[in-house]
């Protein structure tokens, strides 16, 4: 692809030092979402499987899985972000700041940043500012000597490939939940596939429609 390089964009919106500010604003929103989830059980900015790890901790188990998963993703993405020029929001901020750090706080008995909305926004902003600053620092030190994307393409490819499994998994899971729900999920998946939409979406909607008519027991 030909890119035109006639001029390097200037000003605040393209500035290096503005980046930590954008990360701070986004992180404030994400941490606020985790606060909503903690208090009202809705609104966490992450995939079900990742939120389920935090939920496992909240349900009285250990926060270890959420903390370790979130922290290591954050770590990996903060290393990778400045090297490839794109910080992965999902791994670094949604999983790291939104799940990993709250799990660390909760396992240490700190609940205030999650129960108070203003404090959640401030906590998220401070964390984001720090992460953004670290990324700009790494960038300053490495960008000139590095000539590698550090396998970002491989990871993104694997991430996308893994996502494709979700649709069939939902259909199988629905079939194991109950016969009507399974039939609904199968039809929904087929309809969505026909219209070239993600299978997972159709499977979920089909399962829920049939589940509303033929409820499954709570056990």
């Amino acid at each position: 692809m030909e890119t035109k390089e006639e001029r390097q964009p200037q000003g605040f919106w393209y500035a290096e030092w503005a980046f930590p500010l954008f990360v701070a604003i986004l992180s404030a929103g994400i941490f606020g979402g985790t606060h909503l989830y903690y208090v009202y059980h809705v609104g966490a900015f992450n995939d079900i499987a990742v939120v389920a790890m935090l939920e496992a901790g909240l349900k009285g188990g250990s926060f270890g899985a959420a903390a370790a998963f979130g922290a290591s993703f954050l770590f990996a993405r903060v290393l990778e972000g400045p090297l490839v020029g794109i910080l992965d929001i999902g791994g670094s901020l949604q999983t790291g700041v939104g799940i990993g750090i709250p799990a660390l706080m909760l396992s240490a008995g700190i609940t205030a940043p999650l129960t108070s909305f203003p404090l959640a926004l401030v906590t998220g902003a401070v964390l984001g500012l720090a992460i953004g600053a670290v990324i700009i620092l790494i960038r300053k030190f490495t960008i000139r000597s590095a000539n590698s994307t550090f396998g970002a393409d491989v990871m993104m490819g694997a991430g996308n490939a893994a996502g494709r499994y979700l649709g069939p998994l939902i259909v199988i899971s629905a079939i194991m939940a109950s016969i009507p729900v399974g039939i609904g999920a199968t039809i929904g998946a087929a309809v969505f596939y026909h219209y070239k939409k993600p299978i997972a979406g159709g499977a979920i909607i089909g399962a829920m429609l049939f589940g509303a008519i033929f409820p499954i027991s709570a056990q």
Partner: protein, 261 residues
């Protein structure tokens, strides 16, 4: 009452998140000169929609259904909100008025404000409808989605990432395998380890053992040692090979507030 608090807080949260996502997404088009924020798939998908407002809108809409079902089922918005819906809908809003991507999609200022507006609406819509959904519907979604998502995280994702590491070359395969196995032992999931293995393997493939790759390996070793310690892996390992945990180790754990036997 709760619903009102959720609506008000969601408006603020959505605006903040949308602002950051919009600015970060527009900056991706100027990477690597400018540090962007988003994801490679987000970048690719934005390019795939080729500045056509209808394409950007319908691409986001497809994922809105997934997110909606997910938030109803488990209170989780899914990463698609920030990776797909917000950037594509912000782009669609801007492109509806002006089809020139250089002045819209690639402009962090315009994308930030469009993102904030879209974010406030989308996040509030998702969070408030989820709270209003009857329990029986939530039960179905949870019963279906949670097991499926658990299977995805383990074992599907570890296997897919592992295969990708192996296919990417001998060195990434070796690092991915070793760190993946260790990561599954210590952190409970192989994916973070495999990702780090690919990072190291590809880094060494492309630029050799220099200051950056050596620092990375040191940091990774440190990460594994620390998370192993804080998860009590050392004590669990001694137990499983039928050895007693020495008192000094128990005391060391106690110093950091964790109890091991």
């Amino acid at each position: 009452m709760d619903t009102w608090i959720i609506v008000v807080e969601s408006l603020i949260i959505g605006a903040l998140a949308g602002f950051g996502v919009g600015a970060g997404a527009a900056r991706m088009f100027h990477a690597p000169k400018v540090q962007g924020m988003g994801a490679f798939r987000t970048f690719g998908e934005l390019n795939a929609c080729a500045g056509d407002p209808i394409s950007h809108f319908s691409f986001g809409l497809g994922f809105l259904f997934n997110s909606w079902a997910s938030v109803v089922g488990a209170g989780a918005l899914t990463q698609d909100v920030e990776h797909r819906i917000l950037p594509n809908w912000a782009a669609a809003v801007l492109l509806a008025k002006n089809q020139n991507v250089a002045e819209t999609l690639h402009n962090p200022k315009k994308m930030a404000f469009a993102g904030a507006a879209v974010g406030a609406v989308v996040v509030t819509l998702l969070n408030s409808t989820a709270a209003a959904i009857p329990v029986s519907m939530q039960l179905v979604a949870t019963k279906v989605l949670v097991p499926a998502a658990n299977w995805l995280i383990n074992p599907i994702m570890p296997i897919v990432f592992w295969m990708a590491a192996i296919d990417a070359g001998q060195r990434t395969g070796l690092w991915g395998t070793v760190l993946g196995g260790l990561s599954h032992l210590i952190m409970g999931n192989a994916v973070p380890g495999i990702v780090l293995g690919i990072l190291i393997g590809k880094g060494v493939d492309d630029s050799g053992w220099n200051r950056i790759t050596k620092t990375m390996v040191t940091a990774v070793v440190l990460l594994f040692v620390l998370s192993g310690f804080f998860r009590g892996f050392d004590a669990a390992l001694l137990h499983s090979i039928q050895l007693d945990v020495p008192q000094w180790l128990i005391d060391l754990h106690k110093m950091f507030g964790s109890v091991v036997e």
